[in-house]
Amino acid sequence: MSTGPSRAADPPEPDAVVSTADLRKSYVVGDQEVHALRGVSVKIARGDFVSIMGPSGSGKSTFMNLVGCLDVPSAGQYWLDGTNVSELDVDALAEIRNQKIGFVFQSFNLLARTTALENVMLPLVYGPVPPRERKGRAEAVLDRVGLASRMDHTPAQLSGGQQQRVAIARALVNDPSILLADEPTGALDTRTGVEILVLFQELNRSGITVIMVTHDSDIARYANRIVRFRDGRVVTDEAVARPIDARARLAELPPPGEDEPVAQAEEASS
């Protein structure tokens, strides 16, 4: 787990699913150049659960966008699952996002007026899975996140926690190399948030690599490792000695009403 700048074009370690070398990103705002990332070298092993932390402006979002192949670095290398994605064009990056990355957003980003099942099937539309297999795959992942009984519900008919589960199912449907979660509990009350973290830990235990951006140091400690960013650089990168067990924490929380809407649940838990 090196943090120092390394020479570009190092061959990736075989067990590292994410490997960056001296990753840099700068923008031109007006006539000023803003350096969002100033040389980041991070390796994330397959099956790890990593929290990315840092105040706003620290470069953690930029780093996540690069790791998620939503943006391309100004300089440096990035290997994802053995592929040097920093050399790929726009269409190839779209394919990588489709096949190797599962996104989970703070605000869920589900399509309104569209059922949970259809929302989960969305990434399959842009991939090679033949149409007749799509429904089965989507049903399987919805079952995996515990929503087998709510596949025909639209987002408006689901609670915040359930909506986030649909989003996680959508992220998993193409069997990605990494699950990339950006403040996944940010829009949820404490209890529902912990429920989502239970799901993340379960998924992680079954072998899925999870990378989670959060500004909440409490949430971050559910992961095995925390990488802290400041001013475009990695400042600390340390393993969590004893990650919080989400299931145990959930048991300690006061019992709420089931599936309460977000606003009420927040009141109940505060």
Partner: protein, 411 residues
């Protein structure tokens, strides 16, 4: 991304805003409907004119005597008896472009058959007249040259006259009286219907020209010997009509020994070209109306572009999400293009129905001649689809160029 996925996504987004979708397509509906209705009306008018020309006799030129001036008073067309049967013979024999030259005289008279009578036009003609005007015989026998030579007292009745005088019996071989002279009814002519000017062409009786002069109209002083009132000319084919007119004029000037600079003592009228000119002005009108209608198609297209741009802005997050989960730029472009295309094609389809309905309504309630043109329907529909693609491309391109990071952050 497959076409079916695209169509499904488009349908669901169009259904999410049903009212807006319908209002958006209204321009296309009106445009397509108006184009179809206008072209149908134009085609109807055109076919009516062609019908009239056909009834008049194709490639027909009429020659009439010129006007007479007496002390500065112009007595109008036909007042000078300057055309003769020999003119007709000369035209037919000397001009290759003229197939038939049929002289005729005309007057009016009371016709009596049994206890029925009818006042109508009486026309003295030669057998060539019926050929020139392409007038078929319904019953009886044809007029022959012998009838003319012998000035037989035989008559051929127009269909209207026949039905007036013989409402419920066979009139062929019966005797009728024209100006107190008994005539034998030799034949009935097939109905011609109204002329291009709304006259009943069947309200007429034909007799041999010689008989007409001697027995029917002869007592009036204006008809002497060889004089005729009209010569019908049939040109061999349509492309020679203009040349024939010039040749006939030259020949008549020569026959009438007119000095250069002297005014023609005859008039040449080309009825078909007159009707065609009228048809042409109608066609121009139709074209203008169709052009105005297609402007509405373009306006409709702009409406689609406007709504698609709104839709792209509204759905920025959706676009961002689709890009994040692996949509390529061309997938996004394709999706929005399909959506615009579907909008315009649905509008086009409704427009086709509206156009056919309004054309039919105009035909029924306005009693206009309307002829639906399958070609124009296809063209209008195709144009509406093309409008969708043309005006949908820019919004679709805008959508495809969105930055996924910013799109996902869009509120």
């Amino acid at each position: 991304m497959k076409l079916s996925d695209c169509v499904r996504a488009s349908v669901s987004s169009l259904r999410a805003n049903v009212l807006r979708s319908i209002l958006t397509t209204l321009g296309i509906i009106i445009g397509v409907g108006a184009v179809i209705a206008m072209v149908s009306i134009g085609a109807g008018a055109q076919s009516r004119v062609e019908d009239s020309i056909q009834r008049l006799g194709a490639n027909l030129i009429m020659v009439m005597p010129g006007s007479q001036q007496q002390g500065g008073v112009n007595l109008g067309a036909g007042s000078r008896p300057s055309l003769s049967e020999s003119d007709a013979v000369a035209i037919e024999t000397r001009l290759d472009t003229i197939a038939i030259a049929a002289p005729s005289v005309r007057g009016n008279g009371q016709i009596i058959a049994g206890n029925l009578n009818w006042y109508t036009g009486i026309q003295g003609v030669t057998p060539g007249f019926f050929l020139a005007r392409e007038w078929q015989l319904l019953d009886g026998r044809e007029m022959t040259d012998q009838d003319v030579r012998r000035a037989t007292k035989t008559a051929w009745l127009g269909y209207s006259v026949y039905t007036q005088l013989f409402p419920d019996q066979d009139g062929i071989g019966q005797t009728i009286r024209i100006s107190r002279t008994p005539f034998e009814v030799a034949g009935v002519l097939a109905p011609k219907g109204q002329s291009g000017f709304g006259q009943d062409q069947d309200d007429v009786v034909f007799v041999p020209i010689s008989t007409a002069k001697k027995r029917v109209l002869g007592r009036r002083s204006s008809f002497r010997g060889d004089d005729v009132q009209q010569i019908y000319l049939k040109v061999v084919s349509a492309e020679y009509v203009d040349i024939a007119e010039v040749q006939v004029a030259e020949l008549l000037r020569e026959l009438h020994q007119l000095a250069p600079g002297q005014e023609d003592d005859f008039q040449i009228r080309n009825m078909a070209s007159f009707l065609e000119a009228r048809a042409e002005s109608q066609a121009v009108m139709t074209f203008l109306l169709a052009a105005v209608a297609s402007v509405s198609l373009v306006v409709g297209g702009i409406g689609i572009m406007n709504i698609m741009l709104v839709s792209v802005t509204e759905r920025t997050r959706e676009i961002g999400l689709r890009l994040a989960v692996g949509a390529k730029r061309r997938d996004i472009r394709f999706q929005f293009l399909i959506e615009a295309l579907m909008l315009s094609m649905i509008g086009g389809l409704i427009g086709v129905v509206a156009g056919i309905a309004s054309a039919t309504a105009i035909a029924v309630f306005g009693s206009w001649d309307v002829l639906l043109q399958p070609g124009s329907i296809l063209l209008a529909f195709g144009f509406s689809a093309a409008t969708g693609v043309f005006f949908g491309y820019y919004p679709a391109y805008m959508a495809s160029q969105l930055n996924p990071i910013e799109a996902l952050r869009h509120e």
